[in-house]
Structure formats: C-alpha cells, structure tokens
Symmetry: C2
Subunit: 291 residues, 2 copies
Amino acid sequence: MAKVQARIESALERLLPAAAIAPQRLHEAMRYVVLGGGKRIRPLLAFAAGEAAGAGADPGRLEILGCALECIHAYSLVHDDLPCMDDDVLRRGKPACHVEFDEATALLAGDSLQAFAFQLLTEQRLCDDPAVQVEMLKILAVACGSRGMAGGQAIDLASVGQTLTLPELEYMHIHKTGALIRASVALGARCSNALGPAQLEHLDHYAKYVGLAFQVVDDVLDQESSTATLGKTVGKDAANNKPTYVSVLGLARAKALAEELRCDAHEALATLGGTAQRLKDLADFIVLRKF
Amino acid sequence: MAKVQARIESALERLLPAAAIAPQRLHEAMRYVVLGGGKRIRPLLAFAAGEAAGAGADPGRLEILGCALECIHAYSLVHDDLPCMDDDVLRRGKPACHVEFDEATALLAGDSLQAFAFQLLTEQRLCDDPAVQVEMLKILAVACGSRGMAGGQAIDLASVGQTLTLPELEYMHIHKTGALIRASVALGARCSNALGPAQLEHLDHYAKYVGLAFQVVDDVLDQESSTATLGKTVGKDAANNKPTYVSVLGLARAKALAEELRCDAHEALATLGGTAQRLKDLADFIVLRKF
C-alpha cells in the first residue's frame, strides 16, 4: 500500500501543471489540494482491481488512472468544503482550499481538476484499445455526474434536517461516495483485458459493498475520533443536522453493519481466487482503519 | 442558423436528464441553465466547421458535439455568476441559477454539466474511429482546464483593478472565451476525416480571430447596449474595475479592432474555398450583431 501511495504522490507531483506555470495561483491551489495528503483509497482500489484482473494491467496505466481518480476526489472535497456547501475550514489537517486561497480560486481549482482528470484518461499510453479507452472515459463521466457523485452531493444537501430511513441513506451514499469507488474498481479492472463480464460484475458487487462500508466507517469515526487525529472537523454532520449511519442505526449497529459489508465484499470475490487478495486486504483496511 | 439553433435546443431537451429523474432539483437546475436561451455560437461554429470539412461530417455527430459544447458553456456561466466570482443575478434575461435555485445547487449543476459534456463525447455514434474520439475528448478537456477556459477565468479575476496592456488583455481572452471557441471549430472539423493538418491549422487561425473578435464585440455591446436588450447586466466590468477592450483601447479603436479581426478570420479561410462560406458568415454575424 505504501508503495502505491508513494507512486501516486510522485506521479501527481509530475503530472499536475507546475506552480510556476501561469495562471500560477490556480496551479498552486490545484497542487495544494491534491498533493501531500489523503489515503489514496481510490488509486489503491484501482491498483488492486488491476492486480485481480491478472497480468495485463500495466502499472504505468494504473498510475495515470489513479492520478485521475485522485483529481476527481480532490475536486469534490474542495467544492464540498465551500461556504455554500458544507462550509468547512479544515481538510487533511490543513486549511481548506478556500481558506488558504479564496473562494473563487477554490471553485476554479475544482473545475480545473475535473477537466484535468478527463485529460489524464485521454493519455495515449492508458490503453492499447481506444474503444476501451472511450468506454473508460464514459465510466468516469457517469460516475462524476448528476446521477453519480455530484447527484449524491445534491441528495446529501437535501437531506439536511430530514429523518432518513436506512434505504434512503444508502441511496445517498451509493451516489455520493459509492459512484467514484465503483468507478475506481471498474476502471482498474479495465486496465487489463483479462476479465469477462461475469468477473467484472463480481468486482462491481465488491465495490458497492466497500463503498458503503467506507461511508459507515466514516460516520463511526466521525463520532469516535477527535478533529486532531482525523484531520478534518468531526461531529460536523450532527452539527449540520445531517443524517448519518450512526444517527440512523446507533453506534453499535453501525459497527455491525460495517463488519457485515466487509464480509459481503470478501464473498463477492470468492470466484476470483488469489489475485483478488489485495482487494480483500483493502476491504479489511477500510473497515478496520482507525483514522 | 435558426435551423441549427432549433436542432440543438431540441437535442439538449432530449439528451439532458429529465427533471422528473432524481435528484430532481439538480436536474431542473441543469435544464434551466442550458435550455431556452443563448445564441448557440459554439454549436454554430462546430456545424460550420463540419461543413467546411466536407461531406464526411454527419449532422447527427455535430449535434452531440454541439450539445456538449453548450453544456460546457452553460456550466462556465453558472459558476461565473456565483457570488464568489462575478456575483451577477441576471443571465439570458432570467435570474441567474443561484438566484433561481440556490448557490449549492448552482455549483453542483455546473459540476454536473461539465461531467455530462464529457459523457456526451463518449457516445458511440460520435465517431467511427475511437482513436479520433479519444483525441476529441482530449481537445475538450484541455480547452476546459487550467490552461484553457478555467485558467482564463482565474486570470480574469486576478485582473480586477489592474491596468492591462493589449497583449495581456488578449492573453486573458484567448483562454477565457477563446479556448472553447477554438475547441468548437477543431472538434466540428474532426467530425469528418476530410481535412489534412494544414487545413486544420487554417481553421484554428480562423477560430482564434473569431474568439477574440467575439470578446471585443462583447465589450463594445456592454458599453453601448441596455441591460434589457442584452439580457445580462451591462457595465458590470467597469463597475467591477475590470479591464476591457473599450477601457484599454477606447470605443472607436475597439470597433476598428473587431473589424480587423473579422477580416483576418475571412483571410484565414482563403484556401478552403466555398465550403467555408458558413464560417465566414458566422464571423460576420459575431462582429456585426447588435445583441
């Protein structure tokens, strides 16, 4: 994991426009939000899915893909932290982008990072087969859009002050965080041509479980951790009157759900054999992490 | 022109997610900002470039491309109007998106429209050759990003209160409005395979001149029109202490520059012959329009 994380950090460092290139302040902001932080969960999932797909998944391709996924993820955090959204000042232990720079720069840095992620997926070396590459671009676009991540944010905002049922809460998170996590696994697998439709479907089931588990654990940590260890403001959802797995289920049942989803994720990989070991390890990491 | 405008309106109506699909408010906002307004300059340029490229450019492909260009353009207007950017309340004669809905919805509608534009360019029917399609996606991504449109916005914001030279003003507009206009022509031409590198370069020169002319005329109209005829707040740049072609050159020299750019645009098309007539007409329309 540390190896993939270091590889992604160094690739992002290299691929993002240098801070010396105009417009400098915008490029500084893009680098500020992408570099030097984060667990790189989405690239880790992509690399692990590439490994599960067998020998065909070239690490150089997974690296580009991983960088694109991190750019999308970082853009979503920057826009999410803006005053008109969650209005948060702390992210990854540092001032949020709009605090360190300004709101307009944060808005444009997010917009630019989304475009940059699509640009990365058009790199020639990503794929031998341009038809598959177009399909990959489509998977990312759908995952980011109004029926994916951005739509999930909209549902999240609409849920403030609402009492949600468990299915409603799941529906929100399947979009808000789940869409990009599913795309990470689907795109990682497509860096190889080794998997058939049935196996891609198993991977997708795995990704759905892991995506939900990720959010359940986030909600548990938000309840149990301090702002210092988490590097972001804790208790924010409660303060904003937003439903969470903990508020809907209580702490004990939320923890049990995370454990159940971890087992479901393992089971989804049953037919894939040994190459899926790293995906299993990641499900464990996501559920058992402390921060 | 009216035929292409009606075709784009109806295609957007059909392709954008229906307002009845969840998340409804977000989809309503996306439709609100894209449908029912605008001159559709970018699709018009794409169609005309496709025509200049000869028989190969299928109108069905140009239609999808035109919709993608309008989604990018609309997203940029929505984010541009936000309080942290130009803080404008009027757009195309209607309340700006964040006024009609709210800031968070406007932010997410813009984000979603950017993703949706890339999704449209992944449509199978856009292109016979997926390698060309990947190239088209790259052209759009670069045009939208930090060294294109979003970068131009950043330069624009940084110019508030500054005295710019003419080259500095040009540099800003080449990015802010020029990048997407160049992409419109380049992508329209690539809906056919009929043009060689030299002809594509002539088209690109044309697009650069037209992009600049467009902005010069915008600045002139901003000075000479009323808010009612223009459908957006006039005199805003002056009020925001932003440099314009009129503030840098004066009204008479700005008008002369627009005319010069119109002639340059015509000349760039000299070797292309009769198929480029509609591009010439569009250069005239852009420079001679009254609103």
